[in-house]
């Protein structure tokens, strides 16, 4: 890669911000590495190919995998990318960079606390564990340090959002009549959605789970906390996806040699996500008893509306790429596909990620259908689905985007472009294998979230054999792991390539610019208000019903495992004993 430009690069113009971005990405990638290792262990263990852990430790592994990848990796990448996007598109620094450092530190400390609680689960001698999976459903209970870490992490993300809003407001003062630059628009809308969504998990953790794990309250209502979790749990998938969309909308057309097809369409898509991503969470609870069918039906209808922004995205992004291909000399109804820069790992990675995302759209439609969902609920189909979405559309886009972004953050070239290309292609191939096999196995009834998926009945395979599917999962998982290692080592070697000039990149303006869209699209307050109303409409009744049925705290729910309560009991007993001795 020796393309030269005369633009100054991002790090030339904003060295301090670039450092924050770099650090966030590095935390993300460390987590990616640990998470991928856990993924490999799971893939090999479940399929009985190689068992290096005891099955009793499987949930510790799975929790680390889910939390490190789906929460820490994705969100750290997001904050890094968004810091870059806001700084770049507003062309200004944060109001106070110390505040920026503060949220980055908070998020790191929170992750370390939660991560330590999870990993200590491997050491039996230490009475700390958090084998609660990334959904942390009660009555599974984690050590308080896990919930506290989670809370600190989330507050960190709130501060990050506040930082970006502040930067935007400062910019607004200097530019009262300009449209919000697209990338900043995407960041702000994502964060509005995030503030609404995280209310659910904040209440869940701070009011219920944390006090419960500290022994301050005796029991919690599993249904209520689950519902609060999914209040947050669906929008979080858009929190993963929106940075990937930001890259697809604004960076990918540039790499493809084209321009974004429509800036107004992109804005509409992000607004639809703000409005619709929270009032659908109940679609994760189709089989939960205690929630009336009617509420589930409403969630399903809202979910179907949510397909719209993703379809708009498919159209806009592919049209922007086709524009690039035609500018590069591509012709024909499909012939233009061969004119795309397939040797550019950033392009190919994002394109393959988009392709698998399209496949994930199908399994998503099946998940979303209230009745068909019963066919696949809690089977391996579900991980099959979300390894296409978050595990590829998001993760692979992030890795591919890094190949483009990293040189601009460091003034250093990526160590090897061919290895990078092989890496993204390998991820695609490995995921095609693993995810396909997971989907099929799910249809045969193989459950997810278990070290011993045999249970006591046989799974009749419609074609091939279960053994074959196991092998595909194991081989696919291994390819994915090797791909991750290639990515991380390529990046590590890139820390040592010589520094040079010429990595500046511009992003060309959209074919149809923001001036073609109504100004009301930029009215953040309006969209936030409508989003809140929709959430209240969707959740007031179900939550009310749950609370009036079971009270706020449920009854007689014993936590598992007992971590802190026994300590308190022991302390209590000792004190009582002491008191007796003294008296």
């Amino acid at each position: 890669m020796s393309t030269q430009t005369d633009q100054p690069s991002f790090v030339d113009r904003y060295p301090e911000e670039a450092a924050v971005v770099r650090r966030s990405l590095l935390v993300a990638f460390v987590m990616l590495g640990i998470g991928a290792l856990m993924g490999l262990v799971q893939a090999l263990h479940r399929t009985n190919v190689l068992r290096i852990i005891d099955s009793a430790d499987y949930y510790t592994v799975l929790t680390a995998h889910g939390v490190f990848l789906a929460i820490v990796f994705t969100i750290f990448f997001l904050v890094g990318l968004y810091q870059w996007a806001v700084t770049r598109s507003l062309d200004r620094s944060p109001v106070d960079i110390r505040f920026t450092h503060a949220w980055a530190t908070m998020m790191t400390v929170g992750s370390l606390m939660a991560g330590a609680a999870i990993l200590l689960g491997f050491i039996d001698e230490v009475p700390v564990s958090a084998d609660v999976l990334f959904t942390f459903y009660a009555p599974l209970q984690a050590h308080p340090i896990f919930y506290a870490g989670l809370a600190i992490f989330i507050v960190g993300t709130w501060m990050a959002g506040a930082d970006w809003f502040r930067t935007w407001l400062a910019w607004r003062k200097d530019n009262p009549d300009e449209r919000i630059p697209l990338q900043t628009f995407m960041v702000l809308t994502t964060m509005i959605m995030w503030y609404v969504a995280t209310l659910g998990v904040a209440v869940e953790v701070l009011v219920f789970l944390l006090p419960w794990s500290l022994g301050l309250i005796d029991s919690v209502d599993p249904l209520l906390t689950r519902t609060l979790f999914w209040f947050f749990g669906h929008p979080v998938v858009y929190f993963w996806l929106m940075p990937a969309y930001l890259l697809w909308y604004t960076v990918m057309p540039k790499i493809a040699g084209g321009r974004l097809f429509s800036d107004p369409l992109a804005r509409v898509v992000f607004i639809l996500f703000v409005l619709l991503s929270t009032p659908v969470g109940i679609h994760h609870q189709y089989v939960d008893p205690g929630i009336a069918q009617g509420f589930k039906f409403i969630a399903m209808t809202n979910t179907m509306f949510l397909l719209l922004p993703s379809l708009l995205t498919a159209f806009t992004v592919v049209a922007s790429i086709e524009h690039g291909a035609r500018q590069r000399g591509g012709t024909g109804l499909f012939g233009w596909l061969t004119a795309l820069p397939w040797r550019d790992p950033a392009f190919t990675g994002m394109a393959l990620a988009g392709l698998l995302f399209a496949a994930g759209g199908f399994s998503g439609m099946v998940n979303a259908g209230m009745n068909i969902n019963y066919l696949v609920h809690n089977t391996l189909w579900v991980p099959g689905h979300f390894h296409l979405t978050v595990g590829t559309a998001v993760a692979l886009t992030f890795m591919a985007g890094t190949y483009w972004l990293w040189p601009q953050l460091t003034n250093r070239e990526i160590y090897s472009r061919p290895i990078a290309l092989a890496q993204v292609v390998m991820w695609f191939g490995g995921m095609a294998l693993m995810s396909n096999a997971m989907h099929v196995a799910g249809l045969f009834g193989v459950p997810r979230r278990t070290a011993e998926p045999q249970y006591s009945f046989d799974f009749p395979a419609l074609f091939g054999t279960i053994g074959e599917l196991r092998l595909q999962i194991a081989v696919g998982g291994t390819l994915l792991f090797i791909s991750t290692v290639l990515f991380l080592s390529n990046l590590a070697f890139s820390l040592g390539t010589p520094k040079r000039e010429g990595f500046g990149q511009t992003i060309p303006p959209a074919l149809s610019g923001p001036e073609d869209s109504p100004a009301v699209l930029d009215n953040m307050k309006l969209w936030a208000a409508i989003a809140v109303v929709l959430v209240v409409l969707a959740y007031a009744l179900p939550l009310g019903a749950i609370i009036s049925d079971n009270g706020l705290f449920g009854v007689g729910i014993e936590p598992y495992p007992m971590l802190v309560r026994p300590l308190f009991d022991w302390a209590g007993a000792t004190l009582a004993g002491l008191a007796e001795v003294i008296a």
Binding site: R343, G429, F463
Partner: protein, 71 residues
């Protein structure tokens, strides 16, 4: 040369072949799930890899750019 003009670089070829491989792999699933045709795994995959290799070699020797400028 008609077909070879599709392929100019080894990188592009790699991407294309892996995509074809993935499609071939999925086709077996489609045959099994949709049409109930149980294609035996080992011969199917070995055959698929063989065909893809032959296509790959053919495309590589007929590539339209010289091999040293493009990898």
């Amino acid at each position: 040369m008609t077909l070879p003009s599709f392929v100019r670089t080894r990188g592009g070829m790699l991407v294309g072949l892996v995509m074809l491989g993935a499609i071939g792999f999925e086709l077996r699933t489609v045959a099994g799930m949709l049409f109930g045709i149980d294609l035996p795994a080992a011969p199917y995959f070995i055959g698929m890899v063989a065909i893809l290799s032959i296509v790959g070699v053919y495309l590589d020797v007929t590539r339209s750019t010289s091999p040293d400028t493009a990898t």
